[in-house]
Amino acid sequence: MSPEPIRRDFMLGEGAGTGAGPGADPNLHIGLGPAHPAMHGIIRIQTELDGEFIRKADVEIGYLHRAFEKDCEVGGYNNAIPYTDRLNYVSPLINNFAYASAVEKLLGIEVTERCQFIRTVMAEISRVCDHLTCIAATAMELGAFTVFLYMIKAREYLWELVEDVTGARLTISYGRVGGVKADLPDDFAPKMTMAFKETREVLDEIHRLLTGNRIFMDRMIGVGALSREETIAYAITGPMLRAVGVGYDVRRAQPHWAYDRVPWEVVTQKDGDNYARYLVRMAEMEQSMRIAEQALALMPGGPINVDFEGKAIDPAAYVDQGKQGKTEGLLLVPIRLSPNLQGQNRPLHDRVNTSDKHVVLPPKETTYGSIEGLMNHFMLIMEGYGIRPPQGEAYFASEGANGELGFYVVSDGGDRPYRVRCRPPCLPPLAALHRMIEGEQIADLIPTFGSVNMIGGELDR
């Protein structure tokens, strides 16, 4: 039996705004959302208006709660990776790698150098996608539809790049505990150069369209500002914190992956209003591309020189040879894998995955060609076995596109995480949203909300 929903009146309340009679509320109650074009995710903002000015605002979230934390406890450690994709779904690579790094911290293992550089490159590409989407959506709501089309065009180039590497455009499930799914393809460098060239051209156009635009500036400057003390008190991090002048960036403060090996700058502004946040994001995209290019240039590993006699054989023949006992030199013969297992043959696999056999699946030659490899594979896949970090807890913070993305993982020694907590970077700005919009006009809510870059998947988990 489903009870009549309470407090769910999406229509104007009786007597609202009349201002007549005893006890009548002179303010107009208007609700924005949950289904509203300008709300980037689904959220409900109940406002009390006095004319055009917002006197009180109540923000209600939770419309996209998908039980991420509970779902992570159901399967193994790698089972949670697809769920992490869908947290901040505009920059899924960062979530994958942050979760994988949290589990690696809990295990006490290090990933290979090449893997760290790959993670850096892919995370920065994801960050550019996120900032593109944020500014595109904000501009669209202010009426600049062209900006939206141009930035989504740039995002398409980046998504094609991501698809070449991971196999999917958006929900990529690329990170693994102990490494990544597969190495970068051979022609990654020229493709990335091309994609970044297109993106830089688009950013140039956007600067010409928006940054000096009278209408854009009037709507964004001085709007939605938050003071430095309040920003810190509300635990807001990321571009919003850097827009008030605090140069806190997790990539600089607690360097992880390859961020301390390439030169880049933390971008800050002073005013803390929507325009400052826009400028921070635009500049951060350029810094991200800079990081990715330099990291790619410095990437260790180089081309693989495999020295073998004869041609690659396919897995069935491999297994047959093993079963017949013809195992001499078998593990050195290259294997021809199907495309969706690409990257799991030994030379590529060992470059990007840690060698700890309790964590990472063995390369396919070993799995198909030797009994130890097969057993190793089973010990990681079968129910009841798997990655088993020792009892303990670990918190790993990385810089998501909206701020500090933290994963707090508690292990009970079994093969399933005992508790996975995602510290959502966009929850604090939403908690402070009512401070940003009270006193502003109702039309100012739209760009302010856009500059907060709320991502429903991450906020509600």
Binding site: S2, P3, P5, I6, R7, I61, G62, H65, A67, E69, K70, D71, V74, K105, L106, G108, E230, I232, A233, Y234, A235, T237, V246, Y248, A253, Q254, Q391, G392, E393, A394, Y395, A397, E404, G406, Y408, V410, D412, G413, G414, Y418, R419, R421, R423, L427, P428, L430, A431, A432, D460, R461
Partner: protein
């Protein structure tokens, strides 16, 4: 300040109220008794040298199925603190029993605690005494139960409309 020094400062100041402390995997962690929790958090925030001005995260863990801790206090409320000026972190934890699952609110110290505590109430059922507006954050008010508790089955659905598929 290195983690061990932070833990030492806390131990010096709070002595017996510190139940446990460790630095597993490099994370300085201290478990305090509930009675000293607010003082410990305030000390972390205001003490020069510690300066933990950011409450990064506030969450809880249900230990009722943890091997070795099934009979102990059920919930552990976890505070992750960070200092921007000093770039150091600490994790402050406190343990509460199931029948007395209440913890003093940290809203006066950091306003972000408002929403974090609402989420812990929503997901675990731990009350925060003194909280101005303790209602559910992520789920709807008609929902019965606290889903992140270990005894809540993951697919017990409580639809508002539609069948209970």
């Amino acid at each position: 300040m290195p983690g061990a020094a932070i833990l030492q400062r806390l131990r010096d100041r709070f002595g017996g109220a510190v139940v446990a402390s460790h630095e597993h995997r490099g994370d300085a962690t201290v478990v305090v008794e509930r009675a000293a929790l607010l003082d410990a958090l305030r000390f972390c925030r205001d003490e020069p040298g510690l300066d933990f001005d950011v409450l990064m995260d506030l969450t809880a863990v249900d230990y009722s199925r943890y091997p070795g801790r099934e009979d102990g206090p059920r919930f552990e409320v976890v505070y992750h603190l960070y200092s921007i000026a000093r770039n150091h972190r600490v994790r402050v934890k406190t343990r509460v029993d199931e029948d007395d699952a209440a913890v003093p609110t940290a809203v006066d110290l950091w306003p972000i605690a408002n929403w974090f505590e609402r989420e812990v109430w929503d997901m675990f059922g731990v009350r925060f005494t003194g909280h101005p507006d303790l209602r559910r954050l992520l789920l709807y008010e008609e929902f019965v139960g606290h889903p992140l508790r270990k005894d809540y089955p993951i697919n017990r659905r409580q639809p508002l409309i539609g069948p209970k598929v």
